[in-house]
Symmetry: C2
Subunit: 437 residues, 2 copies
């Protein structure tokens, strides 16, 4: 619908937690700049919260703007900003807002990754914009570059560190040599991990972001349910040490790849810890920072780096989207809608092609290396390097460290199973994928 010249753009905010408070504050502090960039003032018409009476001294707005009636609020806005998170009631409110003609800006990775198509179809049906830059990698502009800047290119692979908590934990483990459990406690004490860190450390958060990135990069539909997910709870101090000895760091990666399956184009989307060579740009992403590495056919290698979470960084991304949606509302026209024309199948993990780094404790006697090598050969997995270390004690044991060439995950995984069953192998000490080499 046409916007009346000069009239303010009415903005409704759903949620006033860490991100919502930042959005409300920046809307107030930057009002003049935002008006100049949009072409009309942004008027905050309400903030939906569970307890509207609660004092919020850090949110510099008229207290009468707080309301518990989100259902009503969304019917009187031109743009609705949703920073509640979770599936319900966020989904219902977004759909209701669109039915009433409002554009929507959301930071809700879980919802977009689980049920994006429902939202995209509603946006198209109602002729409104739906933007969600803040859902992936916080402040880092990554969805707009993938969706718009690379629209003339063909993306081959997206490989990202998209969860700050797990990167913080893995980075600390690398620096301190400590184990997973105690490092998570430290991260909790410092505010980098939630009291219940499951969504982060089990990779659910990263998997939602991977689904969103894959959908945009490959113009197809990928939901969280399609993403193979492994968290970092099994990453041990021994794994980190093995990575160091291999001149690598361990990162939790979200990997979205264009692959060929049964002769046709397909996509592979997976989240798991992996060794990354220290010389790779992703290896230098420290602490709770995020970064997304993109390989495109014409553009080559790109990387986007910045803060992946936090109130102000996430609010920056939300406001960038808000300016776009509001500007389009004022000037006419729309941003790009969902682009899912490629409609590619998602292959399962077994078909993904990767490399493995495997540490084995074996009997230190002639013939063992030949036995081990035979197992790899039987599965058709080619060995890149094998290194033998004397065991920690003079007890007739040795450590074998094998790095493979690229093979399907199915073949690699079967190889590890067969190795574990070998009589001469005491222990499979560490198995990890190697990416970015």
């Amino acid at each position: 619908m046409a916007h009346e010249p000069g009239a303010p753009v009415r903005v409704a905010l759903l949620g006033c937690g860490v991100v919502g408070s930042s959005v409300a504050r920046l809307l107030t502090e930057h009002a003049d700049d935002l008006a100049a960039r949009v072409g009309a003032p942004l008027e905050l018409v309400g903030i939906a919260v569970r307890r509207p009476q609660r004092p919020r001294p850090d949110v510099p707005v008229d207290p009468s703007l707080f309301t518990a009636d989100a259902e009503e609020l969304v019917t009187r806005a031109d743009v609705v900003v949703e920073v509640i998170g979770g599936i319900d009631p966020a989904r219902g409110l977004i759909l209701r807002a669109m039915e009433h003609g409002a554009g929507v800006v959301s930071a809700n990775k879980a919802l977009v990754a689980e049920d994006g198509p429902t939202l995209f179809e509603a946006a198209a049906r109602n002729g409104v914009d739906l933007y969600y830059e803040a859902a992936v990698a916080g402040a880092i502009p990554i969805l707009r570059p993938v969706r718009e800047s690379l629209a003339g290119d063909r993306v081959r692979r997206v490989m990202g560190i998209v969860n700050g908590t797990t990167n913080f934990v893995l980075d600390k483990m690398d620096v301190s040599g400590a184990g997973f459990a105690e490092t998570v406690e430290e991260a909790q004490a410092l505010g980098y991990a939630e009291a219940d860190p499951t969504a982060d450390v089990e990779g659910f958060d990263a998997a939602a972001k991977a689904a969103i990135l894959a959908s945009l990069a490959f113009h197809t539909r990928v939901s969280s349910a399609h993403v193979h997910r492994e968290g970092i709870t099994e990453v041990s101090a021994a794994d980190i040490r093995a990575a160091r000895e291999n001149d690598c760091v361990v990162k939790l990666l979200a990997i979205c790849e264009r692959v060929t399956a049964s002769g046709s184009d397909a996509v592979s989307v997976r989240v798991h810890p992996a060794m990354v060579p220290r010389s790779h740009p992703l290896a230098s992403v420290r602490e709770a920072f995020n970064a997304v590495f993109v390989e495109a056919e014409a553009a080559g290698e790109l990387m986007f780096y910045g803060r992946g979470a936090g109130g102000d960084p996430t609010a920056s991304a939300v406001l960038g989207d808000l300016v776009a949606v509001a500007r389009q509302r004022v000037s006419g026209g729309h941003g790009p809608g969902e682009s899912a024309y490629a409609d590619l199948p998602v292959v399962d993990l077994g078909q993904a092609v990767t490399r493995y780094h495997i540490s084995l404790d074996v009997a230190d006697r002639p013939g063992v290396l030949a036995q081990v090598a035979a197992v790899f050969a039987e599965q058709g997995v080619s060995i890149e390097t094998v290194r033998q270390q004397a065991g920690p004690e003079d007890d007739g044991r040795a450590r074998l460290i094998v790095v493979t060439h690229r093979a399907t995950d199915a073949a690699l995984s079967a190889t590890v199973e067969d190795l574990a069953a070998l009589e001469s192998v005491d222990d499979v000490v560490s198995v990890m994928r190697v990416e970015g080499a």
Copy 2:
């Protein structure tokens, strides 16, 4: 003007050099993808070149598309892609295209930086889009993120490595210890530097990009003429060595900062070589890669990294813009136009605030350090560290290495002048700004 549903979007290409050939090839190879993303097929209606008869086997298009009559070609296109470069005839052709109602995609940094306002005004007057992502940092999406993703934030500083040739030369000098002249020869032999490398090594190319970045980041008008420019021709092996000893690398930086001058907001835009600590993300940008580091009030620190030049990478950026302009043509609406509402003055270099690293050869006798320190104090420049090294020979000389705190460039520059005039100072061996600390 409204686009007829289903009708192709007519694209005219001006120029068919390295970038133009890639654009033509990708338009052909990716035709189906591009049509799906735009919502209508892109039809290449002509390529303007100086010699249309010349065989171009690497450009897979109908040879009859080549024409020498660019003036005529631009009148029969919906979108004109300009990859000729330089000021004229590019400017006249772009203006003519807009007058005939065509949107424009340009990779022309020199033209946008020198005379952007003329182009932006023509775009606004004719109601057409003007996009130029490829003008800065090749394939790296940087203009769209700064212009759109950060539209709700306030950018404090942009600091970029935006010239691949100079980064290649400085990186090689850092690795080999060789001097400037021989390293440029090596870069020329490898195709990383032009036969006449002036535009790159004297910083003209980077200055144009700095002007464009500053204009977008600060919503104001900055042209190349406003940019303080120093190239890398004076960077010596001794400077690189001094940087190494200071745990830094030397980079040619384009720096755009929001500053306060006489109590008001202003901008400082400068291009010069500087020492950057090895721990800074920009320090790890090797060879001919580009990267742009952005500090924004809410988003915090962001970095964008990738290939800054080359046919395919630049063509990727051009095609991303082409899809945007064509999509908007098909669906209605426009991208954001020029945003120069802030209208900030550009301060001269003397008012920029930075730090200096200074190496001096001095007489090795008591009292010299006090004399040197007095010169800094007189200019109000505070010293962060001073280190004394024994001279190379046992000849009564010593080397003093001073790193300052932040001060105005005017005060720092006056300090160096006074130091050079001291009787006890034999030689000012190296003076370099330190950034990113």
